[in-house]
Symmetry: C2
Subunit: 225 residues, 2 copies
């Protein structure tokens, strides 16, 4: 059995998780969650009110979240046409086992951004956005990889979603059973869930003798040794 | 460095990941992804076409995905009123490092369900749904926890989303660089990402001497030792 949360080392991340608040508009919390999440879920609705939620790569730079995709993608075409969007990222931190079945829950940190995305037109900002996305996937990778060509840039739509209407939801800590349930002989607690990286696997077509860079060999998910 | 994917042990899961298809309507693949994912992202749009995407717990039973929430929740009220929904689950399996910056990607498995949710009215089916959700969080847990009371059932809305309009998207395997980029002296490959459980942490208020059950101590994410 691990020690309880109170014996964890102090850090911004841990303090955040201890707050137990479920709704937060604090910008620092929002940025930290956007930056830690590897994928986002992007929602747009069609003209009949039917929403579509698709997983996508994203990256934050300052007050903007960048997204990219093929210029032919239906989702990106709708966004370019001004459809209101919702971008949600969620980090699952634990499974909450309460004494009562109804109090079972999850510890998580999530951010929801509402707004309209704008199309990034200039090649310079497109490059900035793509660098942000590649660096978001693996820090240090942009300098190692082949830079996009003008032709590749043209075939790629880059969208910027401003961080304006943004909120964070965080659940942390032990289960919240009713007082009268605390006497039940039922174990209660939290099973922590972590997202971890494993050793990189090289492309079977890699040219012999090409060394794996530290960006890959030393890659770690935030907070993991 | 780990061996490449081709030396992995054969299993249904691995075979699925080797297919490299990005779109799949196969029901078995859809069910496996719904069952492995711990959280789902539920999208609904308001009358102005503004979508909202919220993380939620879910569970599949046969041809239905169950969701639950407070009867007062805005999302659940909209769903009950017949709003079309989209439920998406995504499992991130790896970060794809290509030679070209533009070819960076992620290996993932995701399912998108479209449709209208129906409100579960009978207490019997509500209990079935809540059992499915608790068992989805931690298998074996339903029998250990206190069963919901009639009052708790009344305060909980349970919705059923049929698995009818469903599709899976799967990306697996190494990066897909252009042929002419294979000669570049740039390392390429995949960093596997896994979701793992850690040792359970007991509730600080747990009555002394309450043993942790195997549902918690032996809990493992699918595919993890």
């Amino acid at each position: 059995m691990s020690p309880s949360a109170s014996s964890e080392p102090a850090s911004d991340r841990v303090r955040l998780r201890r707050k137990r608040e479920r709704g937060s508009h604090e910008r620092a919390a929002i940025d930290a969650i956007l930056d830690e999440a590897l994928i986002a879920h992007l929602g747009i609705a069609d003209e009949h009110g039917q929403p579509f939620v698709v997983p996508t790569l994203h990256a934050r730079r300052g007050d903007v979240v960048y997204l990219h995709g093929s210029t032919a993608s239906r989702t990106l075409r709708a966004l370019r046409a001004g459809a209101p969007a919702c971008l949600t990222v969620s980090l699952l931190d634990g499974l909450v086992l309460a004494r009562a079945a109804m109090q079972h829950s999850a510890n998580y940190r999530s951010v929801m951004l509402l707004g309209k995305a704008t199309l990034v037109e200039s090649s310079a900002e497109k490059l900035t956005a793509l660098e942000a996305i590649v660096e978001h996937i693996v820090p240090g990778r942009w300098a190692e990889a082949r830079t996009p060509t003008e032709k590749e840039l043209k075939a790629t739509a880059v969208l910027a979603l401003p961080i304006e209407q943004a909120s964070a939801k965080i659940r942390t800590g032990p289960p919240m059973d009713d007082e009268e349930d605390h006497g039940l002989p039922v174990w209660a607690g939290v099973i922590p869930i972590v997202s971890e990286a494993r050793d990189p696997r090289q492309d079977p077509r890699l040219a012999p003798g090409t060394p794996a860079p530290p960006s890959a060999t030393a890659y770690r998910r935030p907070g993991r040794p």
